[in-house]
């Protein structure tokens, strides 16, 4: 390929990127969206994010993984999903993020098989299923038995009865976009394996906008005055798993975390 052709292709690709960013949150392809019995978009199905946001929601180069895991354990490079790439941390919160990063191989809730919280559950490298009927919407994730009920039928926002890992979700339709407000977090979940974090004051507004029958543009805007100086947003597509027999399999990870958590308390200590 000569240089001229390469330059043209890069320019075309860049143009596409700009165009797709400009239209993606809008229901530009409404005609192709699958419809449920009530005329709303039909989100039923198995969905999954593709990419490296589970490692780091911000831009990151390739780096080494845990010792003795070779290239399998290496962390691939990735383009971030944070709009503008920057997370507006308050100074102390940024320090906490850096500490989290240093201790990530023991402190990350994911390594302990703890529930991932929102929005992290969405872009873990596992599929999740949306069950959408006429009352609640459930999202059942393929990690740590995490799931949540999205109340479509309650006053919004109804106070969370107690702080939880997955928060309390209230949904409503904004045209073809499912808007979910989530609050009532316990402040212990992280955003990724790089230690990005928030406090219990976190409020997340998610937007699920169908891009056709087999893709959803997912956006989540985070507000937490304890941790951030301004709201910030992530945006990434979710893809429908098109295998005929696609199914979210039971993945009970507790037993794989027990050495990490309790190895020092074994009769023959392993840690």
């Amino acid at each position: 390929m000569n240089d001229r052709l390469r330059r043209v292709l890069v320019a075309v690709a860049a143009l596409f990127a700009v165009v797709s960013l400009a239209v993606s949150p809008v229901a530009a392809q409404t005609a192709a969206v699958s419809r449920a019995f009530d005329g709303h978009p039909d989100l039923n199905g198995v969905w999954q994010a593709i990419g490296t946001a589970h490692w780091d929601i911000q831009d990151h180069p390739a780096s080494a993984g845990p010792a003795d895991t070779g290239a399998i354990g290496a962390i691939p490079p990735g383009q971030g999903v944070v709009v503008g790439n920057e997370i507006p941390y308050q100074p102390q919160a940024l320090e906490q993020k850096q500490q989290n990063f240093e201790n990530r191989w023991t402190d990350d809730p994911e390594i302990k098989c703890f529930m991932p919280g929102v929005p992290r559950a969405t872009y873990l490298p596992y599929p999740f299923r949306i069950i959408q009927g006429d009352k609640k919407i459930m999202m059942v994730y393929g990690f740590a038995e995490a799931n949540r009920t999205i109340h479509m039928d309650k006053e919004n926002p109804e106070q969370a009865p107690i702080d939880t890992w997955m928060g309390r979700s209230h949904g409503q339709w904004d045209g073809d976009t499912l808007v979910v407000d989530v609050h009532g977090f316990n402040g212990q979940a992280w955003f990724d394996r790089a230690g990005n974090h928030a406090s219990y004051a976190l409020v997340v507004r998610e937007r699920y906008t169908p891009m056709g029958p087999n893709a959803i543009m997912y956006e989540a805007t985070m507000e937490d005055p304890n941790t951030f100086t301004a709201p910030w947003t992530i945006r990434l597509p979710l893809y429908r798993r098109l295998e005929e027999n696609a199914q979210v399999l039971e993945f009970k990870c507790v037993e794989y975390s027990e050495d990490l958590l309790y190895g020092h308390l074994r009769r023959e200590p392993t840690r």
Binding site: N44, K112, V140, E145, N147, L261, R267
Partner: protein, 573 residues
């Protein structure tokens, strides 16, 4: 008002659905009415630890050296301490020995909790008065233990009052009795052999209604004339005189408000008739009416909502031998069984943990005799030789001290609770959400959620095994039938293995009932398949499921393992 023939009743509400003991002196027939969560357990407790005798003519009370204490099974809002009726009191000739005996019982299960003074002791000796200490019954009734040789057995009722002198005057005007000073030191009222004492409260005493000691009951010969007189005296009526419908007794009664928001019952003589009807509630055992199951907009039966297994708590898996010919239990038997189940399965839990105690359980207990409905004798078929071998091997592998998490059950490890969600003392919630082609079922405990496809599709390949197996659903009329295969056998149900095939059948039998049947078919373990059944009731108005973050908060695992290591160190191993 006829003052000498009054009956005094003290109702103690213990921490859950409890009947209160009624104390009654045989001579004057005064009685105390106590609310405990479980009358039959309370009878046993007061008999065992306070030397009372079960009443001969009713099964919910005791006689304590002439004073009757009757228990009322209903929810309570907590301990009597710091309410207007702070405690009741029992007297022993040798209190030091008695307290040592009670301390050795421990607090586990329906044990005895001793209240300690600031210096850690459980007994005080006030020269010129007597020795005293405090204990609690399992339902929150505070009991003062005293050493007063003048009055042994039931000793006094302690009113906590903002104005003790005025309070005693009020009681005397209302109910009679004789002003007296206990040991020449404590102002009180003598009601037959029972002392009614009133002392200054620290702060404002809480209302007694709903607490472990819910009220004191006095009996009168003629309630209407007594009520008329009280009304003239400006007494506030909490409940007008009436014969309660669906109540536990047929006696005509009224409730009035005493000083400091103490609830008092005034009961017309003839109190003893106990009515056996339960309060109106869904009786899931017999009240089946023709019912049209609602449909989802896409045409399947609609099971959506939050259900609970509370009504089925306490049903044994297999039919007990002594109930071989019984169709259904009586409501009283069913209530007693659920309470036994509550008390029998709480390990060391305080009453604050139990949903029944906290008043969350709204459904009448199931009258079903046993879960197993097939074989019809209610007994699980015999195990195969291989099944017996596997069971013996599993038992032999148990270690008294856990060497690691693997030695503990999948439930303790927060991996999975069970293949059958046998209802327990708490968190029996069960949420169903449906979409076209799928049914999601979430059990509250461990927040496990199964997503069951209802469109025809083959099971997973045999190499993909898992704890809860691979579920495939289909609609048969109004019933959702779920076939489950691909078990890894690591969470055995009653000894099941990895060759288990399980079939579940869910059917709405009424607006508030969802029948659940499970068939266990494991030819490795049993000589034939067997089927169990229980019924969920609708619980949406009671609570919604709240995230049950079990593993995330599993401090129990850390404590069990570190405890095991400490025991090994003590034993020098």
């Amino acid at each position: 008002m006829n003052r000498t023939q009054n009956t005094l009743g003290l109702v103690l509400a213990t921490a859950s659905l409890v009947s209160l003991p009624v104390l009654a002196r045989a001579a004057d027939y005064h009685h105390v009415h106590v609310t405990s969560s479980n009358a039959s357990e309370a009878v046993k407790w007061y008999a065992r630890y306070l030397d009372c005798q079960p009443l001969a003519d009713r099964d919910d009370g005791v006689d304590c050296a002439g004073a009757q204490v009757v228990f009322d099974s209903r929810p309570t809002l907590g301990t009597s301490q710091r309410t207007g009726i702070d405690h009741i009191s029992f007297s022993y000739a040798d209190l030091t020995t008695k307290m040592a005996e009670l301390e050795s019982v421990g607090v586990r299960g329906s044990g005895v909790r001793l209240q300690r003074f600031a210096d850690g002791s459980t007994l005080r000796d006030v020269p010129g008065l007597f020795k005293y200490g405090f204990i609690f019954d399992p339902w929150g009734t505070r009991i003062e233990m005293v050493e007063d040789a003048d009055t042994l057995g039931f000793h006094h009722i302690h009113l906590s009052a903002t104005d003790p002198a005025a309070t005693l005057t009020w009681y005397q005007e209302m109910f009679g009795g004789e002003s007296a000073r206990l040991r020449d030191r404590l102002d009180g009222l003598r009601l037959g052999d029972i002392w009614l004492l009133a002392m200054s409260a620290e702060g404002t005493p809480a209302a007694t209604a709903g607490r472990a000691i819910d009220h004191i009951a006095f009996s009168v010969d003629n309630l209407d004339s007594a009520a008329a007189r009280m009304r003239r005296d400006g007494v506030a009526f909490l409940e007008e005189p009436a014969t309660p419908e669906g109540g536990r007794t047929s006696a005509k009664r009224a409730f009035i408000r005493g000083p400091d928001n103490v609830s008092l019952a005034v009961v017309e003589a003839g109190f003893a008739g106990v009515v056996t009807e339960m309060a109106a509630a869904v009786d899931i055992t017999t009240d089946l009416q023709p019912y049209t199951v609602p449909r989802t907009p896409w045409g399947t039966p609609d099971f959506q909502g939050v259900w609970t297994g509370d009504a089925a708590h306490g049903i044994p898996l297999q039919r007990p031998d002594d109930l071989a010919d019984v169709g259904v239990l009586t409501p009283e038997q069913a209530a007693a069984r659920r309470e036994r189940g509550t008390l029998g399965s709480i390990w060391g839990y305080e009453s604050e943990w139990r949903d029944t105690t906290l008043g969350y359980v709204k459904s009448a207990p199931s009258r079903q005799v046993a879960m197993v409905i097939d074989p019809p004798d209610g007994r699980i078929p015999p195990m195969t030789a291989r099944g017996q071998e596997l069971r013996a091997a599993a038992r032999a592998a148990r270690r008294p001290l856990a060497e690691g998490p693997e030695d503990l059950s999948s439930w303790v490890r927060c991996i999975t609770r069970s293949l059958v969600q046998t209802p327990g003392v708490y968190n029996n919630g069960f949420q169903i959400v449906q979409g076209p082609g799928h049914v999601a079922m979430q059990v509250e405990m461990l927040h496990e959620t199964r997503v069951i496809p209802t469109d025809p599709r083959p099971h997973l390949g045999p190499d993909i095994t898992s704890w809860r197996g691979d579920a495939r659903g289909r609609w048969e009329g109004d019933t959702l039938v779920v076939d489950i295969t691909n078990f890894n056998g690591r969470a055995p149900y009653q000894g099941s293995s990895d060759t288990l095939t399980m079939t579940e059948r869910y059917t709405r039998t009424g607006p508030d009932t969802l029948e659940y049947r499970f068939t266990i078919d494991d030819p490795t373990v049993w000589t034939g398949p067997w089927t169990g059944m229980f019924t969920y009731v609708r619980g949406e108005t009671q609570y919604e499921l709240v995230e049950y973050a079990c593993h995330e908060g599993n401090y129990g695992m850390t404590n069990i393992l570190s405890g095991a290591r400490a025991r090994e160190a003590e034993a020098g191993r």
